[in-house]
């Protein structure tokens, strides 16, 4: 019993910051909604209620969450060993393009071969870009913040070139590639929705990586590097190798995000199709405290908001765009746990107060509210 209580407390400590951040983000978003002339309570109620109002809407929630799961887990994996992978967008695009090309031009294969090749191709393309970033960091000391951002631009231009010029579908005005073969299509889980089997891949990978992070030697090394680089070096962990592994893995997941969108939803690479999946991954992972499995949960949470807002947008004129604002607020609040502390305690807490004082504080606050 005491153990249970202790575990409960440990879990609460772990999820306290994300939950508070999410609530604060909802409040901040609510203020924005109120300023825009809507009743935030009504809007939030509608969003959550609509998201679960029908099977189709629930499917839509998970469909929205699927790409975010991939990129969220991708960011989390890199973040675990202290890397900032701002290149998700580029890695995602390269994976998407690769799978689109493989899907369209690899002909005559049975589905059992063709689909895995396309999926794998997407993952490998993303992994190559991620691996390149790590190599540049290890070999030349180039900071990944700069190189990932550069690679994003280069890849965006390159895939745009590819779908506009050499691989442009015949007769199309807008830049897009040929439609993929039927043998490369990821099946739908529910008709007339965007929910595909890719979500199982995302969840399975998240579980697998959760296990890898928690149980494997590599995962252990990644955690040590992320938490204390110097101790990792002292212990003889080959930091460069782990960086390479982690960045490539992160890139592969981002590539899978692209592949899942192409093979399951769009069936071709359309110029500018990305709805900021890469950048959203950062919000998803941040809310999940950079944990792969929690990233799935936080992706679903964002999926609810996104899908709910889209549905609400159809029936009312509440803009769906406020969802990304809330998403951004989440990162702002999650990034600065000290700020949450400061906001929640209504004072600038620079040092930790002694336990007694803290309690007093809490009482004080409760009395105040």
């Amino acid at each position: 019993m005491a153990n249970l209580k202790k575990n409960g407390k440990a879990i609460w400590l772990a999820v306290k910051t994300p939950i508070l951040a999410f609530v604060l983000a909802l409040i901040a978003g609510g203020i924005l909604i109120a300023i825009s002339g809507y009743n935030p309570f009504w809007v939030y109620y509608q969003v959550f209620a609509l998201a679960f109002s029908s099977a189709k809407n629930i499917a839509s929630v998970f469909a929205q969450a699927t790409p975010l799961m991939f990129t969220g887990v991708a960011y989390a994996i890199a973040a675990k060993c202290g890397l900032v992978n701002l290149g998700l967008e580029g890695q995602m695009l390269s994976g998407a393009m690769m799978s689109a090309l493989l899907g369209a031009y690899l002909k005559g294969l049975p589905m059992i071969l063709h689909l895995p090749i396309c999926v794998l191709g997407g993952a490998l393309a993303g992994a190559a870009i991620g691996g390149l970033t790590a190599w540049l960091k290890n070999r030349f000391g180039a900071r990944e913040i700069i190189t990932t951002v550069m690679l994003n631009e280069i890849i965006a231009l390159f895939v745009s070139y590819l779908c506009n010029d050499p691989f442009r579908a015949e007769g199309s005005i807008w830049g897009m590639t040929e439609t993929i073969q039927d043998s490369a299509v990821i099946g739908k889980l529910m008709k007339n929705t965007q929910l595909t089997y890719a979500i199982f891949l995302a969840i399975a990978l998240a579980i697998l990586l959760e296990i890898v992070m928690k149980r494997s030697v590599v995962g252990y090394k990644m955690q040590v590097i992320g938490k204390n680089l110097r101790a990792a070096q002292t212990a003889g962990i080959r930091v460069n190798r782990i960086f390479l592994f982690s960045f490539a893995l992160s890139g592969a997941l981002a590539g899978l995000c692209g592949a899942s969108m192409i093979l399951g939803v769009n069936f071709k690479f359309i110029d500018g199709f990305s709805d900021n999946y890469g950048w959203s991954g950062i919000s998803v992972a941040a809310l999940a405290a950079y944990d792969p499995l929690f990233s799935v949960v936080s992706a679903i949470l964002f999926g609810i908001l996104k899908a709910g807002a889209m549905i609400l947008n159809r029936t009312s004129n509440v803009p769906k765009e406020f969802v990304s604002v809330i998403q951004a607020f989440v990162v702002v609040f999650v990034a600065a746990p000290n700020m949450i502390k400061a906001i929640c305690s209504f004072q600038w807490l620079k040092k930790r107060l002694p336990a007694g004082k803290k309690q007093e504080n809490r009482k004080h606050k409760e009395a105040g509210t």
Binding site: A231, T234, G236
Partner: protein, 512 residues
Amino acid sequence: MNVIEMKNISKSFPGTKAVDAVDFRLEQGEILSLLGENGAGKTTLMKILYGMHSMDTGEIFFKGRPVEIKKPLDAINLGICMVHQHFMLVSAFTVADNIIAGDEPCKGIFVDKKKEYQVVKDLIEEFHFNIDPHAKVGKLSVGEQQRVEILKTLYRKAEVIILDEPTAVLTPKEVDDLFVVLKNLRASGKSIVIITHKLKETKAIADRVMVLRDGKLIRDDVDPAQASFTDLSDMMVGRHVDLGVVERAKSRGDVIFSVENLTLREKGHDVLDAINLKLHSGEILGIAGIEGNGQTQLLECITGLRQPQSMDLRLRGEPVKGGPSAFLRKGLAHIPEDRNAMGLVASMSISDNLILGYQDTPEYANHGFLRRKTILEQADTLRQEFQVKAPDSQTKVGALSGGNAQKVIIARALSKKPDVLIVAQPTRGVDVGASEYIRGRIRQLRDGGAAILLVSADLDEVMQLSDRIAVMYEGKLVYEVEADVLSDVELGMLMTGGSLADLKKGKEEGNG
């Protein structure tokens, strides 16, 4: 006349009382040597005076009137300047820019470049410093950089100049030059404080010596001309009555670990100079020395963290090369000097920390996955065996006391039955009980036939544990001797750059 008086100054940091009710005074036109071991509170006391640390209690008087110094600018405005041990210089700036930054000669909002260089040039000439004001500071030698720091204080018309370990990084020639400079400054009426632990230099330059030990004032009226090296060393190190348990090696075996011709060059000078070491199985070789004499670099080189210019390291006659993991695999265990920065991951559990560095061994890993059950079971066993006080093995190491955290590292290194153990500062920040226990475990390992190299800034510890002692001073092993041959005073003398002959002379003076 006292330029500065500090009364009843106290300052605590979490866990330690750095300065304990100390009174301090500085007279006009004197050079005061603030003497003490590392951690005696010298620097903290001076940083309080300079406004970098706040004090818990106490008062400061400047020329007799009480002043409040809350930030460095307050001190600077009073004419109190400090030259820090780690220079506060911007490598990318020129000498002149470094000197004037924060108090620039201006024409409107623009820095008056002409005046800037003129003023700096005049200043350099006035004190015969021979530095090019246009040179980038990053290109200067350490001695020249120090002169830039002194120029910074002179430019600010400092009346009181505090120098923190000014000779720590200088060559003997540069030290002589510095002393000439300091004497000139004294002649021009400046009051100077030198924070140091070097006796020779104290005797060479100081007018008066103030000794701190463990944050407390021991004496503040020592006349360096009258006091002998022995006296000063006694005051500084203190009489160590009880060394605790002493058990020397019973049987010493063959040489199993040797380092030859270890030389490491850093920024143009030899940080380690042709070091030779031999460790026999079943003995502890202690390296005594004041911190900053190359111990850190020695440790880095012989644990594979750093590649020196030359080194021949052998374990049982076999050369060992590569990174730290190669060293670990060959049976060279390492207890790093900075427990929290290098040895442990605070936000991970005890059991996770117990496998750090050994995570790839078949004992803990199976096809790339950790043997969680074995690891946990072993963690529970080790936790009990090594008396780590924690509710369970899942407790985060960051939540442990210093002693218990150190026991985790000791348990990790010792449980692998290493042939050679390289251990640095094993009991730093560890309470007495745990220290004794840790030392006992190290002795036990020795009696099992391992060869142990102990590096510690705590002379007591070196004397208590070692079977053989080598003294390190300025990157060299200057003396090597069997345990129990030299007294603490004699060792202290060697550690601070003196020789045993100095000591004899001092004794004769004392007798005569």
